[in-house]
Structures are given as C-alpha cells and as structure tokens.
C-alpha cells in the first residue's frame, strides 16, 4: 500500500477501533458496576444463609448451655474459608462459643449488636438471633472477610475484561480492515484523480464509479463537476479566442495604459494606424506620442476620467506617424482601472486625418456660402424694393396720360360726334374703352402692390356684416339676375377689415360673374372649424367652374383660365386673395369642375377667445 494512502485508512481504522473499544469499555463498566452490586448482595445473602443455618443448629446448644456442642457447630465454618470469625452469645449476652476456637476475646464484639448483616470496610459483619420456636436463646455473630473474595472477583473481572476487549479489538481490527476499504478505496480514487488533475490540468479524466451510496454520489458529482469545468474552460477559451480576434482584427487600434499612463497593451492594428508596432511602444509613456499642442488637453482629459470610472470620454489628438507625418486620431477613452479584469485605462482610436481635413473644408465652404446667401438676399431685397417702387411709380405715372386719353377721347366724342362717321366713332369708342380697361388694370396692380406692403391693422371683424356689405356693393353687377344665396352663420374674426373685404369682394364677385350664364344661380357661403382649429370659409357656386388640372394657376398674378371675351378680369384678384390670406396666417385653395361650378376655400386662425356667440347672424336666405 503506498504510504501516501495510509492516513485516511489509518484514520478510519483508529475511529472504528476506538469506537468499538469505547463501546465495549462503557458496556463493561456498566456491567462491572452491576456485577459489583449483585456480588455484594450475593455475599451478604451467602453470609445470611450460613448464619441462618448455624443459628438454627445452635439453638439446642444454647438452650442447653452446651458450649462444646456450640463450638463444634461453629467449627463447621472451616468449610467456609472466608468466614473470619464467628461467635455465639447466650441469652444474657455473654460470649458463649467462638470460632476459631483459639481466637482471642478482643476480635469479637463485647456484646451482640442489632440483627442483620452489613458491609464494614472489606468485611461482612452481622448478628442473628438464635431462637427455638419463639424462644430467644442467644445471638450468633459472624464476620466474613470479603476482601479476598472481592479481590478475587476483581481480578477475574479485570482478566475477563482484558480478554474480551483484546478479542474484540482484534476482531474489530480484522473486520474493519476489510470493511474500511469500501470507504477508503473510492475516496483514495477520488484523491488520486484530483491530484492528477491538479498536476496535469487535464479535465478529461474521470473517476470510475463503484458504489451506489454517498461515495458513489460524490464520485458522480465530482465527475459532473469535471465535465462542467471542462466544458466551461472550452467555452472560455472559445470566447477568449473570439474576443481576441475581434480586438486584433479591428481596424481601430486598442491601447491599455496604466495609472502612470504607460502602455500595457496595444492591439496589433496599432501598426496600421501609426506605423509603430505594439512591441515598439509597449511600456513607453503614452503622452510622449501626443502632439505637444494637444498634450495638455489629453493629460487634462485623462486626469478628469480618473475621477469618473467607467464613463467613456471622447478625445481627439494628434500623433506622429512613424514616417514623420502628423495624424489626427480620435478615440473613446474609458477608465477601467478598478475593473479587475482590465486594471487599466482603455482607449480605442482610429485615424481621422482625412475626415478632419474634409470637415474643415466643409466648414470653410459653409461659412462662405452663408456669407454669399446673405449678400444675395440683400441684393435681391433691394432690387425687389426698387422694382416695386418703380412699378408703383410707373403705374401711378401711367394713370395721368391715361386720364388724358380717356378724357380727351370723351371730349372729342362729345364735340365732334356729328361730324364723325360711324367708323371713326367706333374707333374713338375703342380707344376710350381700351384706355379705361388699362386704368382698371393699373388700379388692380396698385392694389396688389399695396397689399404686399401695407401693414395689417387687426380688429374684430363681423364676417356676416362684411359679407352683407359686399353683397350690397355687388347689387349693380347682379342687376335683375336671380341668385339663390345660402349663407351659414358666420363668426367674428380677428383680421384687417379692409383687406378681408378685398377677399370677400373678389370671391363673391367671381361667383356672381361666373354664374352669369345660369338661369338659376346658386351661391353658398359656409363656415366651419376645421381639424387644425381654424375657421374654414368656403364660397361655392354653380357657375362655369374650371378644370382641376389648372387649379395651381388660379392664384398666380395675371393667370387666367378664361378669356377676357368670355369673362372680363385682370387676373390679379385671386392673387390678391392669396396674398392677403397668407399674410393673415391662413391658406387658400379651390375645387372645381368645368360647367358644374367652383368652390373656393380659405382659412383664418381663431383667436384665443373667439366671441363666436356674439356673431348671431341671421342665416335666412337673402336675396
């Protein structure tokens, strides 16, 4: 058996043997006490029996005062080797007979004591009355030397104990020697395997399972643990390989620096970034690689991130490439000094020189572009102003010659009507009318240009009243025509009243104008609060309508969908409408169908507190 295996086996053996011997000793001690008690009792009983017999036999000797006989009876005690002394006292208490016959007086009590036997030191001593019938004749004294008996008994007892324990010890040794193998052998196998594993780091070793008990379970558990460790180490290796690959294949360079900012790790990609290999830089001071102008910033950031572990800091700096060229590097730096797996400050960074250069260019372009836009806008604005004032003054200045043309044409007509032939009169009419039409056009243009420039003067405008007013103004245009008006309840709005009137004038006059060819004209004015929280007004008619594909042109200046011959107009009205509504923060659009009719919509914002309730307008049809 190898010496390294001895301890557990010996321990088991010692435990078993100690247990066996202790149990035996305990049992034996109990037994010993019991034996001692019963032994004492037996001795006492024996003495009592002997004394009974002697006492019974010696009654006659006492009764008839036959001392010889009495001595003879006592002499029979010779057979009982342990009886040390015996005596008979007569009824008066005088010593009558003794044993041994030659014993001196002083070994006997001078007078009989109480009857019964008791232990005195190592002797059993006692008295027994001698009677015949119920007649008291004397007393028997008996002393048994129990010391010898006790010694003999003790010796026997110890001998037996020693023999039994020695036998049990040998037997227990032989049995346990065989049986302890059931426990020690699997444990030793486990220990052997554990040693082999710790020496060789080989987790594929398995312990053979022999038993189905706890040791078997232990072995199984051990094997399972080995299995798991094996799997985990494989997984760990796999994962490490993966992460290493991730780091090493990464285009970003990864560096780890210690608390003194010296490099402790550099990923292989470092050489592709700054030309130096990892081996060239390891253990060097990281700040040495930074451009002197950037070093204070980098150092400052590093110092700052020391106080905020785990938080990534963005850092841009310059480093010199091995070929001497300065590179812009950008990276995230994180303090992982307190992370036991890293114990360093980790920076991953890349070359951003190209990007920085491009960015700088873009920034430069942007600033010049903005400058140019501002310049152009100012230019355009001044040109526009000039243009507007020019067109205003032109329009204004055009009116005087026109007034002359029409005025003198009229005067010529009045003065020479009789002298002129019909053709000349017709020409003169055409001149006069064209001049008038041109005047209207100029007026409209002036209005349009005013609309763009004039300031808005907001007031509470009662739309219903305004619409009524406009309808009054249109009375001459309508003349005797039959028009069915349908007008909703209309709200009070917050707007420039004069401009808003222009809107209504345009929309309603259009409706009236384009329903001219209808026998039964119908114009409907509606108002609702739309989904955007604005007033949405609409003016619908059953007039000439328009083709929806030209709807975009409706609101352009001088854009017309009908010829002047069909329907007169300058093409400025709807442009004005749009301009006014947009300036009020609203929107305008139209829907239509040729020969069916058109609907014009516009929206106006609803002021915070619209006094809608005060705008109770009669919604009855008006003609």
């Amino acid at each position: 058996m190898p010496t390294t295996h001895t301890p557990i086996q010996r321990k088991l053996m010692v435990i078993i043997l100690l247990t066996a011997v202790t149990a035996l000793l305990a049992t034996r001690t109990g037994f010993f006490i019991y034996e001692y008690v019963t032994f004492r009792d037996a001795v006492r009983r024996q003495v009592a029996t002997v004394s009974h017999v002697i006492a019974a036999n010696s009654s006659a000797a006492l009764a008839f005062k036959n001392a010889e006989d009495a001595n003879e009876i006592l002499a029979a005690l010779r057979a009982e080797t342990h009886i040390a002394a015996a005596a008979l006292y007569d009824s008066s208490g005088a010593l009558f007979a003794r044993y041994p016959a030659d014993a001196p007086n002083n070994i006997f009590p001078s007078a009989p004591g109480l009857s019964g036997y008791r232990f005195e030191k190592l002797s059993v001593v006692g008295f027994e009355p001698v009677t015949q019938g119920d007649k008291f004749h004397g007393t028997l004294y008996l002393r048994l030397d129990a010391g010898v008996i006790l010694r003999e008994w003790l010796r026997d007892s110890i001998v037996i104990t020693v023999i039994v324990i020695a036998g049990a010890f040998i037997l227990a040794y032989l049995i346990s020697k065989r049986l302890q193998k059931q426990i020690s052998v699997p444990i030793l196998a486990l220990a052997e395997t554990a040693k082999a594993i710790s020496l060789r780091q080989d987790y594929t070793v398995r312990v053979p399972t022999r038993t189905g008990d706890e040791l078997g379970l232990l072995t199984d558990a051990f094997n399972q643990m080995l299995e798991r460790i094996h799997n985990q180490s494989l997984a760990l290796q796999e994962r490490e390989r993966r992460f290493r690959a991730l780091i090493e294949q990464s285009a970003d360079a990864i560096a780890v620096i210690d608390a003194e900012y010296n490099f402790t790790y550099l990923s292989p990609s470092i050489s592709s970034v700054i030309g130096f290999s990892a081996a060239e830089l390891i253990n060097s001071h990281s700040i040495d690689q930074v451009h002197p102008d950037d070093a204070p910033t980098v150092r400052d950031t590093l110092n700052r991130l020391r106080t905020e572990p785990g938080k990534p800091f963005r850092l841009v700096w310059r480093s010199q490439h091995k070929d001497g060229q300065w590179l812009w590097l950008e990276g995230m730096v994180t303090n992982l000094l307190s992370d036991p797996a890293v114990k360093g400050i980790v920076a991953n960074f890349r070359d951003v020189t190209e990007r920085i250069r491009a960015e700088a260019e873009v920034r430069k372009l942007n600033t010049t572009l903005e400058q140019r836009v501002v310049e152009r806008t100012a230019e355009l604005e001044s040109v526009n102003k000039e243009l507007e004032s020019f067109s205003y003054s032109v329009s204004h200045d055009l009116r005087a010659p026109l007034r002359h043309i029409t005025g003198f044409a009229d005067m010529l007509m009045n003065r020479s009507k009789a002298k002129l032939d019909e053709t000349s009169q017709r020409y003169l009419d055409i001149i006069s009318n064209s001049a008038k039409q041109m005047g209207v056009l100029i007026d409209d243009l002036l209005v349009f240009s005013r609309m763009g420039r004039a300031e808005l003067r907001h007031t509470q405008v009662d739309t219903a009243a305004l619409v009524d007013e406009v309808r009054q103004d249109l009375a001459t245009d309508i003349g005797s025509r039959r028009i069915t008006w349908h007008i909703d309840e209309l709200p009070i709005v917050h707007a420039d009243r004069a401009m808003l009137k222009q809107v209504w004038v345009n929309l309603l006059s259009n409706a009236v104008k384009y329903t001219r060819n209808r026998d039964e004209a119908a114009i409907t004015i509606r108002c609702r609060e739309n989904e955007q929280g604005m007033w949405e007004f609409s003016v619908a008619d059953n007039g000439a309508g328009f083709d929806m594909q030209y709807a975009g042109k409706l609101f352009g200046v001088f854009q017309r969908l009908h010829t002047a011959e069909e329907f007169e107009g300058t093409g400025v009205g709807l442009a004005n409408v749009q301009r006014i509504i947009i300036r009020h923060g609203g929107r305008v659009w139209a829907e239509g169908k040729v020969d069916i009719g058109a609907t014009f919509y516009f929206t106006l914002p609803i002021p915070e507190k619209s006094p809608h309730d005060n705008t109770k307008t009669d919604s009855a049809d008006r003609r």
Binding site: N57, A60, A63, F64, N66, Q132
Partner: protein, 197 residues
Amino acid sequence: MKTCKFSKSAAMVSWSRLLAGIPLLFLSLWVAPLQAQPTVATKEYEVKAAFLFNFARFVEWPTNAFNSPQAPLVIGILGTDPFGAALNEIVRGEIVNGHPLIIQRYRNIEEVQTCHILFISSSEARRLEQIFRSLRGKNVLTVGESDGFAHSGGIIRFIADQNRIRFRVNLDAARAAELTISSKLLRAAEIVKPGQD
C-alpha cells in the same frame, strides 16, 4: 426475631396468657397448701428447670396428645419437687406452639391424668418400674435424674458432668411414647445404648 409493634395476634396472645395465668394463680393458691411445699431451688435445679422447659420446645408430641390446639402443655412433677419456685418462674406466661405451659405436681402416679412432660423425682426411684408401666402407651416425656433412669425406660436423664449438666436420651423409649425429639437436642445429648446407664 422480635417484633416491636403490637399486632392484633400479639395482643391476643398476651390476653390469653393473662387469662391462663388467672386459674394458675388460683390453682397455686389452692393447691399449694395441699401439695408438697416448694422448697428453695439450688443453682443446679434452676438450670434443670430451664432445661425441663426447653425440652418442651425441642420435642414434638402427636396431635392427639392435646385435647385442642390451645390445650395447655402440662409439665408434671412426680414426687418431691426439687425446683422450688424456679420452674414456676421460668414457665410463667410461656406458650409453646400455642400451648400455654402449666405445672402440675403429683404425689403418686395415680394422680397423673393429662401430662406431657413428667419429671420423676429421685424420691420415686424405687417405683420407676411401676411408673413406667402405668405410663405405657401415653405420650409423656419422662425426665429423671436417678441412676439407670434412661436405661430402665425413662426417656431423658439429667447427668452431671464436671459441674455441667448434661442429659442422656433413650430413643427407644421416646419412640415408644410416640415423641419426636429434635436432632438439635440430640446433638446436645448423649444417646443411651442398651446396657448403658
């Protein structure tokens, strides 16, 4: 074994002992003047009186020797009474196997009616043969001290041996009287062999 407490039976015993004592008292008052006057006993006779009483304990009588289990055990003295008051004192109040002991004194054998132990005084030495004849078939333990007493048919004879009193027992006579003598008594006695005494 002495009992310290007075059990019911012990009380009864003392009562019966007392009751038995009353007639005895009367008897002694009446009989005494008629009987031979008890003389003052010598030391020897005090011992012999004790022995006489002890015999009652070491000898068994057949049951028909008593009229009833409580019938008195009679110790008779035939002829001159050598015990004086000693025997009366020893016997007073004693009960053996339920039989109270009483003493009777006889002048001649004819007076002997019911008697269990009969001490035959030396005064009757010449009439022994006649006495034994008349006692034949009766369960009487005869005790004497004259020469040849045991040999001639008496059962126990006192003998003096170096200032000590011994006795000699005639087992044949005892057997004839249907008496059983305790072996313990026999240990302390000499056994009469034919031709001895």
